[in-house]
């Protein structure tokens, strides 16, 4: 049974207080009706059977969202987003609707999987073939949960965490990215459907790399993941996030929020390979990837490391940031952004040094090809208390072809005399000599370009966990296909 206007009508009849006790919703409905309203927020919350405090928080965020203007300072410009023209909730599609086997999957998509060297079983998963896994807004099956539980690690969908560990969620949710942060993060706070929750207890080194594949599976579904990772004292976790998306024509908004909290001596390594659908050669379709990612190093000597390989999306707009509060805490940001055809990217990081002797390092490699346009935008701020703080930034851009654009906009604010900030940036084109050398040894032009670009990105690729590094290297080559010759 599909949700109908009546369901909403009922909700309204119950009045404002009704949600405290929850209300019976149509659990079989797969899709929230199109549009965004307070009812949508209540619908999602009810679907998740959330406690009152969670709904309250969502509604406060929604109210705040209504007062916010769409930001317009970013470099990539796009037509205004019609927030009413999307579904804000979709339950996992019943398996019977999915393709029965890989034979029914778009061959172009399969070709990409093939090039990436994704195993068949995984290909089936990625393509949405009916396998024993759950997709879309509901988190992917968390395979090794038993083993993790043994170590005391909590790794579950955030919707489950809200039920099972409400105290932890309540304590940390929105403390890193408050619901007032920016318009897309606020929207996420109001309508997030799912995401991951990770808690690493004191002294625990997470026994395995945590990995989640997110993907957009259903047309017209805005994706609003919310990830919250808490690393308690002396703990360590490596978290991998990878994205692929099947081809479709309508622009889709993807506004995720990732919050990381680090206590004393904790370390989080957060790696992302983002390969959402970038739109076709003429810029039709593609994902709007507007993500707010931030880590707070609350504890002494804690360390957070963001590594990202951004090759997909029509527009990528994100600044994974580090707030370095704890004395001696460390923030790192390694990024590769590749744009081709009509893609646009405005990405970078923020390093906010507050504690003494905090250090940060930014290595950003941008490659623009085709008619694409990309911007590195970064902030390094040394607050008056950040005595002995240190930052090193290196931003390099590579242009392939004469109709793309690459821009660098670093902001450096230093209010402490003993803090040392260094920033370097270069922009150049792909070296004719290197290309010629490879070509005359019989290497096809595209392969040669991929090789050179891989060399250019090496500093960042090295930071990726093994599982990702191989895929990412291939991705670099594939992303630049058709950009030369």
């Amino acid at each position: 049974m599909k949700v109908s206007a009546d369901t909403f009508g009922q909700d309204n009849d119950l009045g404002d207080d009704a949600y405290k006790y929850g209300f019976v919703s149509d659990v079989e409905s797969e899709l929230a009706p199109k549009g965004l309203s307070e009812d949508t927020v209540r619908f999602i919350s009810a679907k998740k059977n959330e406690p009152a405090w969670m709904l309250d928080w969502r509604l406060t965020a929604y109210d705040h969202w209504l007062t916010m203007d769409e930001p317009d300072w970013q470099k990539p410009k796009f037509p205004p987003i019609d927030y009413q023209d999307a579904h804000y909730y979709s339950a996992p599609k019943s398996m019977k609707d999915g393709p029965k086997s890989l034979d029914e999957v778009d061959p172009e998509l399969l070709a990409v999987y093939e090039k990436l060297g994704i195993p068949l079983k995984e290909q089936e998963m990625l393509a949405g073939v009916a396998v024993d896994a759950v997709f879309d807004s509901v988190s992917v099956a968390t395979t090794f949960r038993a083993k993790l539980m043994e170590a005391g690690v909590i790794f579950c969908p955030i919707s489950e965490a809200i039920q099972d560990y409400p105290d932890l969620v309540r304590k940390y949710l929105g403390t890193v990215v408050p619901y007032t942060d920016n318009r897309h993060a606020t929207l996420n706070s109001a309508v997030f459907t799912d995401g991951s929750f990770v808690y690493i207890p004191k002294g625990v080194r997470c026994p395995m790399e945590l990995s989640t594949y997110f993907r957009i599976n259903e047309a017209n579904t805005g994706q609003f993941e919310r990830t919250l990772i808490i690393a308690d004292d002396d703990s360590y976790v490596s978290y991998l996030e990878g994205c692929t998306a099947p081809q479709r024509d309508e622009n889709q908004l993807h506004a995720a929020v990732v919050e990381l909290v680090l206590h004393d001596n904790a370390e989080i390594k957060y790696s992302t390979v983002q390969n959402w659908y970038p739109g076709d050669k003429n810029g039709v379709g593609g994902i709007y990837n507007f993500v707010t990612k931030r880590a707070v190093c609350r504890g002494k000597n804690s360390k957070v490391s963001w590594t990202q390989v951004e090759t997909g999306s029509a527009i990528t707009w994100k600044y994974p940031s580090c707030v370095l509060l704890g004395e001696g805490s460390v923030g790192e940001f390694y990024s590769i952004a590749i744009t081709n055809n009509m893609q646009m990217a405005d990405t970078g990081t923020k390093m906010i040094h507050i504690g003494k002797n905090t250090t940060s390092k930014i290595i950003s490699k941008g490659i623009a090809a085709g008619r694409s346009d990309q911007t590195y935008r970064g902030l390094v701020r040394m607050s008056p208390k950040a005595t002995g703080a240190r930052n090193y930034t290196q931003c390099d851009s590579l242009l392939i072809g004469d109709i793309c654009g690459a821009h660098t906009i670093p902001y450096i604010e230093c209010k402490n005399k003993s803090a040392v900030v260094e920033h370097e940036a270069t922009t150049s084109k792909i070296s004719e000599e290197q290309l010629f050398y490879l070509r005359q040894r019989g290497i096809p032009e595209e392969t040669a370009v991929a090789l050179i670009v891989n060399g250019f990105c090496r500093d960042v690729l090295q930071q990726l966990p093994m599982e990702f590094a191989v895929e990412a290297q291939k991705l670099v080559g594939i992303s630049l296909e058709g950009s030369v010759g």
Binding site: W73, M382, P384, S397, L399, I400, G401, D402, I403, C404, G405, A406, H407, T408, I409, P410, Y411, I412, E413, C414, K415, N416, K417, S418, A419, V420, V421, E422, H423, E424, A425, T426, T427, S428, K429
Partner: protein, 460 residues
């Protein structure tokens, strides 16, 4: 008569109530300014300036360009627009960056402004070679308005800039330097602005034109110096046009009093094979902002923009520049270095834009700052915006403090702490001061820097 045309359009265009709009008083008197009253085209520029400024108001920090420089924080700014009478005050000694004083001029000619007003009695033009004219704006308006009409308002045309609109509206002073085709000047021209000798706060809105014709060459020293104790406001717009293969080098020394606010914008158009260089030494002012907009508008055009800022007290120094590489094979090179003490603050915003056709552009930009105090602040934003692939562009920025290892080394060799610190500051600044390529001027700049340094034991 053009005088009464101002008030008609005001009410509908005004977004800020008249009584709270900064410089409202100066706008009100702008239409009565004696400068160019009879020139309709100039009155048109004035009026559109009034309208535009009323629309925009004083730039606020929510504008990206003004993110780090807050004019509104200066509070009520109520300055009287200076008139020729205000310039007519006694000046005993004309300050010069050259130690020799008045008698033995290393400069070729000298034009002196007091409270923004040209003073013929203090100026000297005797050494100007044939083909070079240097005249106060009022004089050019009287004698050669045709030249003015061709050049004024041609380069500074960005209608989104409130401070430009304000200058358009209220311009009340200035000069025109015209160097004819092929004339190479041997000696630098010295422009000296003396401010602060007044009973009340004065505002001055100079509009200066520098016109360098083909193959001409000139060096200029633009020296702003505050003498009296009165606060004053200077909002200058310079329009600088360089003909083919012309060369202009401008050395700015901003040594305003701590009561001064100086906002200067340079708009330069550099044509084929021409070269424009400037060095900007900022030492004083409560708040100064030095904007430079260079259009590299011909093959082989180049610019070199350098500067040093030395701030203490509560001084605020802003260097904002933008270089547009519009044609192939253009070159730009930027280096700014600064030392900040006490509660001072400096801002550096640099932007290199390489346009689609500007292949083989080379753009280099560097900004380094040394902080001597925990209350000092540097905000820097070196930007690259690049739309052509065959380019070599790089920028670097750094901030730090006195190198403790080097300090220890010098201390261990018996050099007193404060002297050692001064030596390290001097060596830090040497890299940029070396880029001043006229020896006499370089030496004068070095003297200024040495003079600025804290008093140290053992120093001569």
């Amino acid at each position: 008569m053009a005088m009464p045309r101002l008030p008609e359009k005001q009410p509908e265009m005004s977004v800020t109530p008249e009584n709270t709009l900064p410089f409202a008083g100066n706008l009100a008197t702008a239409g009565k300014d004696p400068l160019g009253l009879e020139l309709d085209w100039l009155q048109d520029i004035r009026q559109s300036g009034v309208v535009r400024y009323r629309d925009l108001g004083l730039p606020a920090i929510n504008l990206e360009d003004w993110k780090y420089t807050n004019l509104l924080a200066l509070g009520d700014m109520d300055y009287l627009t200076a008139t020729p009478d205000h310039g007519d005050v006694p000046v005993d000694v004309v300050p010069s960056i050259f130690p020799t004083g008045n008698n033995d001029l290393p400069s070729g000619a000298r034009l002196v402004f007091v409270n923004g007003m040209a003073r013929a009695d203090l100026s000297t033009m005797k050494d100007l070679p044939a083909g070079v004219t240097l005249e106060p704006l009022a004089q050019v308006i009287d004698q050669n308005p045709g030249l003015l009409k061709v050049h004024l308002g041609q380069l500074a045309i960005d209608t989104d800039r409130a401070m430009l609109a304000l200058n358009n509206a209220a311009m009340n002073s200035g000069y025109v330097l015209h160097v004819a085709k092929g004339v190479v000047m041997e000696n630098p021209i010295e422009i000296i602005h003396i401010g602060g000798i007044a009973q009340q706060p004065l505002a001055c809105f100079p509009r200066n034109l520098v016109i360098m014709e083909e193959n001409s060459q000139a060096d200029m020293i633009v020296h702003h110096v505050g003498v009296g104790g009165a606060s004053y406001f200077v909002n200058t717009v310079n329009e600088i046009s360089l003909g083919q293969a012309a060369r202009l080098r401008v050395y700015n020394v901003q040594d305003e009093s701590h009561q001064a606010i100086n906002i200067t914008a340079n708009w330069a158009n550099v044509t084929r094979d021409a070269s424009y260089s400037s060095f900007n030494l900022s030492l004083g002012a409560r708040l100064s902002r030095f904007e430079t907009y260079v259009a590299l508008n011909g093959t082989g055009a180049m610019c070199k923009l350098d500067g040093a800022y030395l701030m203490r007290g509560q001084g605020h120094c802003d260097n904002t520049l933008r270089i547009d590489h519009l044609k192939p094979d253009t070159t730009s090179s930027v280096m700014f270095k600064g030392v900040l003490d006490d509660r001072s603050r400096a801002v550096f915003q640099g932007k290199i834009v390489v346009h689609r056709d500007a292949q083989r552009s080379d753009g280099q930009m560097h900004n380094k700052t040394m902080l001597l105090s925990d209350k000092a602040e540097i905000d820097t934003k070196p930007e690259l915006e690049i739309y052509a692939d065959d380019v070599k562009c790089a920028h670097g920025a750094a901030s730090g403090h006195v190198d403790e290892t080097a300090l220890f080394y010098m201390r261990s060799r018996g050099i007193p702490d404060d002297l050692a610190r001064n030596l390290l500051i001097q060596s830090f600044l040497a890299e940029v001061l070396e880029r001043v390529n006229v020896d006499t001027i370089g030496a004068a700049m070095n003297d200024k820097v040495t003079h600025w340094l804290p008093v140290a034991r053992g120093q001569i």
